[in-house]
């Protein structure tokens, strides 16, 4: 149960959500994604209630599960979700999203046959289909190998550079060291801190804890279409419109 959780996040920020198991991180992210309804309080994304169609159109949710049906191919899944997001050309959107994560080779493969890393790549493509402004990540690197973690880290850095707001929950905090702009700590459903890290690592892709044998990060968004449409520049000094406003 969450109580008295209130915070805001601006465009182009990556906030880390901290807390022990059961602290309420997943619950908070699921509420923000619209998968759970808060019993009380208010959550808005870019001024719209989180359960509204407007908020869902600009929110992406990446979990440790792909949310894709294992029997279908990656392309079939992405086309399906593109239709659910009312995108005018589902196949073109799916191809574009796969290109953004360098996952074109996954298109014809069934999700159930993919490795965990490939599934996460396909899942990230699903999140980027509708060009969200807010990306919620719930344990996105659980069960991934170090190379894939490095790719994910590079990808998130690029998305943040393009102006997306990212809220990330991960027990592998070291994997995102130097990348986050602030953190929110939850304890038994209450928000303890909401401090910014002032890490000074923003801008460009910060090198991750990748093994030396890892190739250049293959994930990442290319082109302006992949990022957010958030108009604000990054950083707290010059914040764009606050995608997430408040929750109490």
């Amino acid at each position: 149960m969450l109580r008295e959780v209130s915070f805001s996040a601006a465009g182009g920020e990556l906030l880390a959500l901290r807390g022990a198991n059961g602290a309420g991180k997943t619950t908070l992210l699921r509420i923000l994604a619209g998968a759970l309804r808060p019993s009380l309080g208010e959550v808005t994304v870019a001024g719209a209630p989180v359960a509204s169609v407007e908020a869902r159109r600009i929110t992406g949710f990446l979990s440790h599960q792909s949310l894709l049906h294992p029997t279908l191919t990656v392309m079939e899944n992405l086309e399906f979700f593109a239709t659910l997001f009312s995108l005018p050309r589902p196949r073109a959107a799916a191809v574009q999203a796969l290109d953004q994560v360098n996952g074109g080779y996954l298109a014809g493969r069934r999700v159930g046959e993919l490795s965990q890393g490939m599934k996460q790549k396909a899942a990230l493509a699903r999140c980027l289909l509708h060009q969200p402004r807010l990306l919620l990540l719930d344990e996105p690197i659980a069960s991934l190998d170090r190379t894939t973690v490095a790719e994910m880290r590079a990808c998130l850095a690029r998305l943040r550079d393009q102006g997306l707001t990212l809220i990330l929950s991960s027990h592998q905090e070291e994997a995102f060291a130097g990348l986050t702009d602030g953190e929110l700590t939850l304890e038994r459903g209450r928000l303890l801190t909401g401090a910014y890290t002032d890490s000074g690592t923003r801008g460009g892709v910060a090198p991750g804890p990748a093994p030396s044998d890892s190739a250049a990060p293959a994930w990442g968004s290319r082109g302006p279409q992949a990022g957010a449409s958030t108009s604000g520049t990054r950083g707290r000094a010059a914040q764009g419109p606050a995608p997430i406003e408040a929750m109490r």
Binding site: R30, G34, L36, F61, L67, T83, L84, S86
Partner: protein
């Protein structure tokens, strides 16, 4: 327009999944076949018996086969938590639930289309049988089961005793429809006339529960 696109997308996707896995079709087909064959052995069915009790025997097979299909309607979304994927899209919940209903309806109907001729042969269906009436009852009855069943399948998908909960929720609510299906089928199998009253009851039932299911789609999709 968008709702229709979502409806068709969900319908196409569910049928595609079913065609690839054949999970529901195999389970429900096997079950329904078993019931019909065992009943035919047990009752040594002749035309007189079928005219008297065929409606009930037929719908026992169809009803339990439908329960299998309906149980899978939302269960197939538990793989890779794909139900959460549906919940986080801006698509209309009514269109999603409507697509699920349509796929279940078509699956059950396809099975019934195969089993009905088998039933006619094994149970020596009376020559006076009005098959158009039986088929009309089958369509309306299956619609009723699929409309209610899809709704309760969504509600019970997260429950531990899901397999038990679905029939517990579905069958009591479906009693008026089941009564009408059995009675109407009986009338047409015996060639005793036209079951207008029962068909009208089924039509009314279908309209009410389809609209109710669509109106409450947002609530059932949000059930955790």
């Amino acid at each position: 327009m968008n709702d229709w696109r979502v409806f068709l997308a969900v319908l196409r996707r569910d049928l595609r999944i079913e065609l690839r896995t054949r999970e529901a079709m195999l389970a429900m087909g096997f079950y329904a076949l078993l019931v019909i064959v065992i009943f035919s052995f047990a009752f040594n069915a002749d035309a007189a018996l079928t005219a008297r009790a065929g409606g009930g025997l037929l719908w026992v097979a169809f009803l339990f086969a439908a329960l299998v299909a309906l149980d899978r309607a939302f269960l197939r979304e538990s793989a890779e938590a794909s139900l959460t994927g549906l919940q986080t899209t801006p698509a209309s919940p009514a269109a999603i639930v409507g697509g699920k209903f349509a796929s279940s309806f078509l699956l059950i109907l396809a099975l019934e289309a195969v089993l009905l001729p088998l039933f006619a042969v094994l149970f020596n269906a009376p020559p006076a049988t009005r098959w158009w009436g039986v088929i009309a009852t089958m369509l309306l009855g299956t619609w009723a089961l699929a409309a209610n069943g899809t709704y309760f399948s969504a509600m019970s998908v997260h429950a531990r005793q899901r397999g038990l909960l679905l029939p517990l929720l579905l069958l009591p609510v479906s009693i008026p429809a089941i009564l009408a299906m059995v009675q109407a089928t009986q009338v047409y199998l015996s060639g005793a006339g036209v079951a207008n009253y029962w068909l009208k009851l089924l039509v009314g039932y279908d309209i009410i529960f389809t609209l109710l299911g669509l109106a409450l789609a947002e609530v059932v999709l949000a059930v955790e």
